[in-house]
């Protein structure tokens, strides 16, 4: 097959086919083999993405139920509804399920898998069998963790601090091994994405023509590959100490619990960047598409992703300012943490700048992103505030910290996840969701989120420590407000879920590229065929992921004539 000459190739992609009547797309990856076996043993990155979507959504709902139970108990200061032990198991499993089963695998697993090959113009990820293996690793890890939960659960908190985690009679080892296996699923996914980005790019697709979502996933993959093995070994050390009495962290035998905290947070701080970097990638894509404008400072965003990935490894000590760490090293960690904050701030200004001189269309994904902007800036700056030493002395292990990381994990990462689901819904399922219900779901999620977590900042200021089953009475008012907020948040998530499920079943088919995006993934059909593109896409010299300033445009504008 001779290579088409440059000019000829450009025309082929400049004219988008005129808007023909919307018919059910010919066979695509969804209806290409519908036996259960074809799904369970699929090597198609898109089907693996759908499997991840279902699994992580189950994890998200399970974690959400735990959260609602915790909030209900906190309505009253005294013992009520269930015992302290049950409460401790609840918040532990809320942490473990939400972090290891949803937040870390969700955006890389679902959208990384689905979109990376499409955005790179490739047929699949570099190692499809390895990709399927990562799904089954995820299933094994999740099954082990839930088995541990059913047989008594752990009451150590998701941080497993020794010597409590090595001495408590609860079922900690299965959950540790579950998290260990989930770690490997994350490493394998990260490895797959790094190799894919390096070797599977379409002809003409240089590094700085990559969509910013690919930069986000690439930076996340680097962290996954480097940080997760350390967590795997630390959890193994705790399991070994519990079962064989190795005494690595046993304080009476010369062990140092602060060493455990060092090794644990060496992974767990970069892990929060594993959660937020893909979300940032989604935000860059959605803001660019809905303002029909190039990202304002593409290089700043791209380099900031890598900056966060590498400098993010330096700041883990800010979790231990008051846990017996030396004053000097606390100062060093506080300084290094400030550097990471700079990259996030730079990205935020670029996103807002993207709307300058664009033509902004307020649809559901964009609504989530505007919410993301406020929560991410507020959550991020409270994070930098908590990295200021004297304030952390007052705030450490109080509800201020709980509010801070929920602002980032729920306010930023989950909002971006919701934006991604709505934005790529037509591409993934070829169906349209109802805009009205989508926006109302988003509205309830915002209101519920603010009413739930804003009072927790004030609780933290007042000095209510975290993980408290019973609390002093003067904290009750804010706790009640927060619990009511959690109900509104649950309603918001419920409405969104129903809207999407309804659209899946009874939504009318979406025509190709309904948002008018110039992203590479939108050049495939909605939903794409099994090997993504009929002909190998080639990126012309001045074509790019955000070429909104060029003549070619979406089907809709073909009608109006540009």
């Amino acid at each position: 097959m001779s290579q088409p000459s440059n000019v000829e190739r450009d025309e082929q992609f400049l004219e988008t086919p005129p808007l023909t009547e919307v018919k059910v797309p010919r066979r695509n990856y969804l209806n290409d083999g519908t036996t259960v076996r074809s799904w369970l043993l699929t090597l198609d990155h898109k089907r693996i993405a759908i499997m991840y979507l279902v699994l992580t959504m189950v994890g998200f709902l399970l974690g959400g139920v735990f959260a609602l139970l915790i909030r209900i108990k906190l309505l009253t200061p005294g013992p009520w509804l269930f015992s302290a032990n049950a409460y401790n198991r609840l918040f532990t499993m809320h942490g473990v399920v939400m972090i290891f089963l949803f937040l870390i695998p969700a955006i890389p697993g679902v959208f990384g898998n689905f979109l990376l090959p499409l955005m790179l113009g490739a047929k699949d990820v570099a190692f499809p069998k390895l990709n399927l293996f990562s799904v089954y690793l995820y299933l094994a890890g999740a099954a082990l963790a839930l088995w541990g939960l059913v047989h008594g659960g752990a009451d150590t908190g998701w941080t497993f601090y020794t010597p409590y985690s090595t001495t408590t009679p609860a079922q900690v080892v299965p959950i540790l091994l579950g998290a260990f296996i989930l770690g490997f699923s994350s490493i394998v996914t990260g490895l797959n994405f790094i190799v894919t980005v390096h070797t599977m790019r379409a002809p003409g697709l240089t590094w700085f023509k990559l969509p910013l979502f690919v930069w986000g996933i690439y930076a996340t993959a680097i962290i996954q590959v480097i940080a997760t093995p350390v967590l795997g070994m630390v959890l193994l050390l705790v399991a070994v100490e519990r079962s064989f009495g190795f005494g690595i962290f046993d304080p009476s035998r010369g062990g140092d619990p602060v060493l455990f905290e060092h090794l644990f947070w060496f992974y767990s701080h970069p892990a929060v960047y594993i959660m937020i970097l893909p979300a940032m990638g989604v935000v860059s894509e959605v803001v660019a598409c809905f303002s029909h404008n190039r990202p304002y400072g593409y290089k700043v965003i791209a380099y900031s992703s890598l900056g966060i990935a590498f400098i993010g490894f330096l700041g883990w000590g800010h979790h231990m300012f008051v846990s017996g760490e030396s004053v000097f090293i606390a100062g060093a960690f506080s300084f290094l943490t400030m550097l990471v904050g700079v990259f996030s701030a730079a990205k935020t200004f670029s996103w807002v700048g993207t709307m300058y001189k664009g033509s902004v269309d307020f649809k559901t994904p964009f609504a989530y992103i505007v919410g993301f902007l406020f929560f991410f800036v507020f959550g991020g700056m409270t994070g930098v505030a908590v990295a200021t030493l004297p304030l952390d002395v007052h705030w450490h292990d109080t509800y201020f910290i709980v509010a801070h990381f929920h602002f980032i994990m729920v306010g930023a990462a989950v909002m971006a996840y919701m934006a991604a689901v709505h934005y790529w819904f037509p591409l993934m399922f070829g169906k349209k969701y109802s805009e009205r219900w989508g926006l109302s779901g988003a509205f309830f999620t915002f209101v519920g989120f603010v009413v739930t977590f804003f009072p927790q900042f004030l609780l933290g200021n007042e000095g209510m420590p975290r993980r408290y089953y019973q609390y002093p009475d003067h904290f009750q008012v804010l706790n009640v407000v927060s619990t009511v907020g959690s109900w509104i948040l649950a309603m918001g998530v419920g409405v969104t879920l129903l809207t999407l499920i309804y659209a899946l079943i009874a939504g009318e088919p979406a025509e190709k590229n309904s948002w008018g995006s110039r992203g590479f993934e939108w050049r495939a059909d909605c939903p794409p065929i099994t090997h993504n593109f009929d002909t190998q896409p080639v990126i012309g010299p001045h074509d790019g992921p955000y070429s909104y300033h060029l003549t070619h445009g979406t089907a809709s504008e073909a009608k109006h004539g540009s």
């Binding site: 190692f127 390096h198 035998r253 060496f266």
Partner: protein, 224 residues
């Protein structure tokens, strides 16, 4: 796309059937490049599996410097040195295996891999002797540690780390030997040629990583 079919049938052309070109790669050469890069990233992440233990080792060594020195003298230095020489030589033979496969000398290459696996067994056997000697001596990890003359704090930490580090390394030696056996099978069955030697190279790289880690373990554990 014409080039890659030539790739499969090496000069001597007696490949039973070469590796399958996956549908999502344009050329065989890109697939091999991706595989090698993937193996390298895997080696980087696998070596970081030891990071937590090296971190623990360095912290506890700064805390009880002298206790670590005393414990390290409890270990059998001759066996440790022998193991180091064994692993280095096996790394050498694996490298030779790669060399021979470049020159399509399948039998020599298979023999070299066989030698390396043999040395791997030797390493494990010596390790077994060392561990049983430690068990009898009482140089055991954590709460089982009862060596007199060595302060409790340093001693139990050293031997916990010793057993964890050597145990994890031994596990990697076993995995490495499995990979080498898989590669040897490929060489004997002439699945590989000078054009396509990925299995030999991948198992070689893994074995060299295992040797690399032992090169650091040896001075840290035996020569404190």
């Amino acid at each position: 796309m014409v080039a890659e079919s030539a790739l499969l049938h090496g000069s001597d052309g007696e490949l039973a059937h070469g590796p399958k070109l996956a549908h999502h790669f344009e050329t065989m050469e890109k697939q091999v490049h991706a595989a090698r890069f993937g193996v390298w990233v895997f080696l980087g992440s696998e070596s970081l599996l030891f990071a937590a233990l090296f971190g623990g080792y360095s912290v506890y060594r700064t805390l009880n410097e002298s206790a670590f020195a005393l414990c390290s003298r409890e270990l059998n230095l001759t066996m440790g040195t022998l193991n180091t020489l064994l692993l280095i030589t096996s790394s050498f033979t694996v490298a030779l295996a790669g060399y021979f496969i470049h020159h399509d000398k399948h039998r020599a290459s298979a023999f070299m891999i066989f030698l390396s696996i043999l040395m791997g067994f030797g390493f494990l056997i010596i390790k077994g002797f060392e561990w049983t000697a430690d068990f009898h001596e009482g140089a055991l990890p954590g709460k089982f540690f009862h060596l007199e003359g060595i302060p409790q704090a340093g001693g139990s930490q050293f031997f916990s780390l010793y057993f964890l580090l050597t145990g994890l390394h031994a596990a990697h030696v076993i995995i490495g030997m499995g990979l080498l056996a898989w590669a040897m099978n490929k060489v004997i069955r002439r699945r590989v040629s000078s054009r396509y030697d990925l299995p030999v190279e991948v198992s070689g790289l893994y074995w060299h990583l295992v040797d690399l880690i032992w090169i650091f373990l040896y001075p840290l554990l035996y020569l404190v």
